[in-house]
Symmetry: C2
Subunit: 473 residues, 2 copies
């Protein structure tokens, strides 16, 4: 096993090596595309299962829409096509013939879905219509950054239609807070949650909200977004309904999504010099058992371990019986892969009917009687999840900087990075200048931001709020 | 609600209306593509959950490979590219530029996956490698037949690599029998299981095995396949491993898949004049409760129904509170949608603390005390699943015809359709002639077929086995 680089020394090398060595993903021969390997896919399955439950609990139903979109559909919404056209993959030939109109491989599904919404929605009784799909999407990209920037990625996209704007706005907030809760409760992460600036808005939306994760090198990963589409799409796709008052009206729409980028954020936010640290809620293996060969007969060791596995029913357990590898090698390997708890079973444990437990987060070690094991492991896993969240919150606090002048802003970005809370007047010109000078962009205006009159760090004009700034992936 | 056509009168009209009116799927504005609506998608989710469990239990792990394949990859395996090239969708432009080499939207993933296998497999210790992916694939097609023939469809594709041929052959059979068991235990269907003829073989395989479902109009749906790829792909993609004897060898491979066609087969095999009949194992709604308004106060009715729902925990229940629709309309609607059990709750039921249960399969009606409801519903659902399978088996028996001459063959195909067991000498010319004359093709040589010397129905030459013939979708 190659030693992975120190996280502090070369973060991007650390990240790539962890992803490759933990076998989460691999580069593919198709430029811009990645292969998600079983261990990485198993994390995605856990993410899907958790989030899907929350989506369904909100009364949203899953469905599936075509991969291909006629180019003319995208053209209908001006801002939308402008935003996406540099990133499109075009199918121009099919079945051996050139197509009259090229098909776009979906970069997002508003246009193909809303054409159907126009057909299905007739009356106020058909509203709200709330659908979600789990799908692959393509946005042209040749410089791969595993999980974070790939030509094809996987996501869920929710699309809802409502009878009035208020209800749509409530749905935008519901989805946004669902993502916040999901990150907190499953991935042990506390995102910055708030509104995006006009410049960073989704192409075709009135307002875009986002959850932004600060990661170990002080940069941000945009981790899920929720858009108020207003009536922009319903007017171009003629999605009208007869309201209770007999009037024909356009619906109000929202869309919201979370993608495989979440895995990138997870790795970057929790890892350490030894590799991944996975929250128990989404860890494909929550407990790994490493047998330590010694004087105990193998048969007896196997028997004891089998009884330990049986007692851990309901927990995702793996026993590492690989031959020809020393226990120390296995310890490192599973630490690299971020498994929360390691159980060591050797002579002493078999003799005493006990198990040695080592936690990935702080290497704390304790010996537990095998009869009390299940209870103890359950509580250790819950504790692990909390500790990880607590540790992450502390990291965010330490790396959030209140900044009041341009000099301070520039120094902070360059020397300390992190989340910078600074006044901004709202002008796109200032925003662009700040980006050019420092590579830092507006991340969000936090939902919790309070009015606090001050001066824009760039132009010194009056500004009402502090925005979160930072460099992004 | 439009009355659906009689199944016996116009099967294809019946099928389309059922799919559309039950809101399983809809046509999309993209020719050849379909939209899977929530009710249809929920069936697919049940199918995925059941089959995924069986796949994992066999030690196969899920992963995900790119949607795009360089055209040159497909060209490497001659038979493979020949088989698929008429069906390819080509991406020629990306990110605003023309590509040097077109990318193929995957019609199946052998070539893109095996390039990675060549990288990952080095030693016998890396074998067997058993991966599966749930993904969308595209095969050019403009004449949509909902679920059965669409340009894009969803499936799982398993791909394994082994150290020797025998192990690969065992895997081919394991996957095949897994599909048989899945169809029987989840979809209440008993497929014909066996080997495909050379003509019907997967492009690039040594042998192809298939499960074939006979449906209500006497035609077949190919419902899942399992291929022995031999070393055809390992030789072209250089997938070599160092064996225990130190020799460098090519791996032996298999691939196997089941797609959204399964939903088409399910509908066509179990439906009746009133619409769908869904096996409880995969029914998105297993029990629907229809409130019957009467003298009982609505509050009391709602309270009683809420207690019934609570008592049915673990069962997929829906209460139809839709306003402005008569109970009779609701009965028809849920029958169309194939829900196994309908619970009626009105005055009498509320007063007596009982529930009226009506079964979709035979309209049998019984009244059950609400205290015993859960037990009774559990057993009724299990019974329903068995009855449906029993009824289907009877249908297959009734529609399987032993045929010994060409005249008999032709008459049977034209007048009765169904599964025709007839001697065939194995010549592709005879097979082609039979197809031209009757549109019937070889479906499979059943695994259970016994040697039974006879004469080929077409050429009268010696033939050792009876093959299953029939018209197909």
């Amino acid at each position: 096993m190659k030693k992975i680089a120190s996280l502090g020394k070369d973060f991007s090398q650390w990240y790539n090596r962890v992803v490759l060595q933990a076998q989460l993903a691999d580069y593919s021969p198709v430029r811009g595309c990645m292969v998600i390997r079983p261990y990485g896919w198993a994390i995605w399955e856990q993410i899907q299962a958790g989030l899907d439950q929350m989506i369904k609990a909100a009364g949203v139903k899953n469905a599936y829409f075509p991969l291909f979109i006629p180019y003319s559909f995208l053209e209908k919404e001006k801002a939308h096509v402008k935003g996406f056209s540099p990133e499109l993959a075009l199918v121009t030939h099919g079945g051996g013939k050139e197509l009259k109109e090229p098909l776009v491989v979906r970069p997002t599904s508003e246009t193909i879905m809303y054409r159907m919404y126009a057909k299905w929605i007739q009356s106020y009784r058909d509203l709200p219509l709330k659908l979600n799909q789990w799908a692959n999407v393509v946005r042209w990209e040749l410089r791969t950054y595993l999980f974070l920037r790939t030509m094809e990625f996987l996501w869920q996209e929710g699309h809802t239609a409502h009878a009035n704007h208020q209800e749509a706005q409530e749905e935008v907030q519901r989805a946004l807070l669902m993502y916040r809760d999901f990150y907190r409760d499953y991935l042990a992460l506390e995102p910055f949650v708030g509104e995006k600036s006009e410049r960073e808005r989704f192409a075709g939306a009135l307002q875009t909200f986002s959850t932004e994760i600060l990661v170990r090198d002080g940069k941000f990963v945009q981790a899920a977004t929720s858009h108020d589409l207003g009536q922009n799409f319903s007017k171009t796709f003629e999605i009208q309904f007869q309201d209770q008052d007999g009037q024909l009206k356009y619906v109000w729409q929202t869309s919201w999504g979370l993608s495989t980028r979440a895995i990138g954020a997870l790795i970057m936010a929790h890892g350490d010099d030894r590799g991944l640290i996975l929250p128990p809620k989404v860890a494909p293996v929550q407990v790994v058992i490493v047998p330590i060969p010694g004087k105990t007969k193998e048969e007896k060791l196997r028997e004891f371990i089998a009884s330990v596995v049986r007692s851990l029913r309901g927990i995702r357990v793996e026993v590492d019986w690989r031959e020809g590898l020393r226990p120390g090698y296995k310890f490192n390997d599973w630490e690299l892969r971020g498994v929360p708890l390691r159980l060591e079973v050797g002579d002493r444990e078999t003799r005493e009917g006990a198990v040695t437990i080592v936690s990935r987060i702080d290497s704390e070690k304790l010996i537990v009687n095998s009869e009390k094991l299940k209870l103890k492991v359950d509580s250790l896993l819950a504790e692990f999840q909390n500790k990880l969240l607590g540790r992450y919150r502390q990291f965010v606090r330490k790396n959030t900087h209140l900044v009041n002048s341009w000099q301070e802003f520039r120094e902070t970005v360059e020397e300390r990075r992190g989340a910078i809370l600074a006044h901004w007047c709202g002008s796109s010109d200032c925003e662009a200048a700040i980006k050019t000078e420092t590579k830092a962009t507006t991340r969000v205006l936090p939902l919790t931001a309070k009015k606090e009159p001050g001066k824009c760090v760039w132009c010194n004009q009056a500004a009402q709020y502090r925005w979160v700034f930072g460099r992004g992936y």
